[in-house]
Assembly symmetry: C2
């Protein structure tokens, strides 16, 4: 492998100068620069990352991560992804601070403050889509602290990128799956999280839109469970009791476990196709028991690692990192046999 030392020797300048040229730092005569670049190119120079990493120990990058509280186990996997990548980036002197807070504006605002106190240079957040939070984030961005949204986007926030699901598409995929896994007439119940949360309403829209073309389907009932298992249990119990004709259920979000409990009790003997999202442990359990037919996953670990990688690249090399607006997770369907 070619090294800076080698290039310095061949071009008759010092290693410092070679470094300056190759990293576009200024203060080198164009003449010298030209010569160094030519030699580097000819030798196919590639910087050695281990060397860069060691030298980078002197700097410090600090990145703040704010996601939902322990009550939502989906984020366990996202955080696994963050930590795996953080471990890798520790090479380059990058430190990460993770805050898990309630899904609530005040909690998010104080988590943001806490991150700032710790001196973070960038923030990755699953934002609550609230005016105050958005305003706060836009303030940071104006002050030169970039923001990446993960798993859930915020309208009107000037974040550099969103990393997560395409919710409209994932609802549509759920509809397509429902079509593939049923025949004849199907009467559907939909259990939403919260219609005011964009991702939930997008999944609902994608799902409905997909089935609206198909005369086999009839959407009987749509209810909100606010991601709460007990509420979800009650809603599904009522749905199944009031609508004995229901033979398809779609959960757009959390509260799957409570809803499945209701199916286990009220739905005995009925052949109901149940489609959900994600594979948190309780969902896997219900797949195992044959209550859930299929669940659509969204690469939670990737969401964590990709967003952190993006932020780090952006911080360490703002001009040369080109960032897309949206990074969408792949959707992976799981059934009992592939979980």
């Amino acid at each position: 492998m070619t090294t800076i030392k080698e290039i310095a020797r061949l071009s008759g300048v010092s290693r410092g100068t070679v470094d300056r040229v190759l990293n576009n730092r200024d203060g080198v005569s164009e003449e010298t620069a030209e010569r160094v670049r030519a030699i580097a190119k000819q030798l196919g120079y590639k910087p050695n990352k281990a060397g860069m990493a060691l030298a980078a120990q002197k700097k410090k990058y600090r990145i703040g991560i704010i996601v939902f509280s322990r009550k939502n186990p989906f984020f366990d996997k996202v955080i696994e992804g963050f930590l795996e990548k953080a471990d890798e980036l520790a090479f380059f002197g990058c430190e990460v601070t993770v805050k898990r807070v309630a899904y609530h504006p005040a909690a998010q605002l104080s988590a943001i403050e806490a991150c700032l106190d710790e001196g973070v240079q960038g923030i990755i957040i699953t934002p609550y889509n609230d005016a105050k939070v958005c305003e706060k984030l836009n303030g940071l961005i104006a002050d030169g602290i970039p923001v990446i949204t993960v798993n859930s986007d915020a309208e009107n926030v000037n974040r550099i990128a969103y990393v997560g699901s395409d919710y409209l598409n994932s609802g549509s995929a759920a509809g397509a799956l429902m079509q593939l896994m049923t025949h004849d007439k199907v009467n559907i119940g939909i259990i939403l999280g919260d219609r005011n949360i964009l991702c939930h309403s997008q999944r609902e829209a994608g799902f409905k839109d997909r089935l609206s073309e198909d005369s086999r389907f009839n959407i009987i009932s749509v209810e909100e469970n606010y991601d709460d298992d007990l509420k979800s249990y009650d809603i599904v119990s009522d749905m199944l009791r009031n609508h004995p004709e229901i033979n398809g259920l779609y959960f757009t979000a959390a509260g799957v476990y409570g809803g499945c409990k209701a199916i286990q009790e009220i739905g005995v003997g009925r052949d109901i196709r149940v489609i959900t999202h994600d594979d948190v442990p309780t969902t896997v359990d219900m797949l195992d028991k044959g209550i859930i037919t299929a669940t659509i996953c969204q690469e939670p670990m990737w969401q964590g690692s990709r967003s952190l990688e993006l932020m780090f690249n952006y911080l360490s090399n703002p001009e040369q990192t080109q960032v897309k607006n949206y990074y969408y997770a792949q959707l992976n369907i799981k059934i009992r046999e592939t979980k």
Copy 2:
């Protein structure tokens, strides 16, 4: 972060000695070792990987990778995984040489020789399950060159691990999917690659086993296409012509594209569920066109990166790396809407 330097200072010995203690190199008095260990533990010492990586530039690890030829595009993704990991391991002075050869004993034997000529210390291979190849591999292993099998295992080879699909399970999952996506009577045609190749026959077995419990299913015809698209085209054409009652097809392996072409021509107007494996470009195309109903993927990139990671860990730290016998890929189901 605590460094070796810091520990050396606090325990009043040199950095060399600290290094010897912490890495279990011998030649240190138990007394000194004890003291150093205590201090390291107290400070929560973790080796800095950037430092290790830089120092490791002096050594060289060379790993040989042997997979199938360009004719099989599934391996493009596996190789992407290898290369991504190789890039990461380049930190640690690890070099990788990839050979893509025909799926044939002689080609594999000469690729193995070529790797040895390049001085590899370990080999990752998708082995052709042939006596000569197995014997050759066992010879290497006896000479202290470890082998990992990827994507396809070889019986009787003393490899340290297998990284790839659980084929029996993936066939069974295909059967389960077929159950979920059909109703009433289903007449099935199976298109195998080659029954002599273990993975193909395992998928067949898993699939049949799964459906044998279910009286809705009747397996009408099973044919081998030897992974050849033209052959596959002919077989499927004949199947569909001779068995107008066929309404379910399962492709255990390659030759999907040729088979799908036949469905497009002969199967017009027939409602046939088609289940395949992997998502090579031609398969994605046929999903798009609505010919394939669903395809079961097996994390090809992960297979590449995981096996290389494993080999590197094993080479750089043989005693302390514990290796499982089998590393199974996750199965991800894709439909048109989630591809």
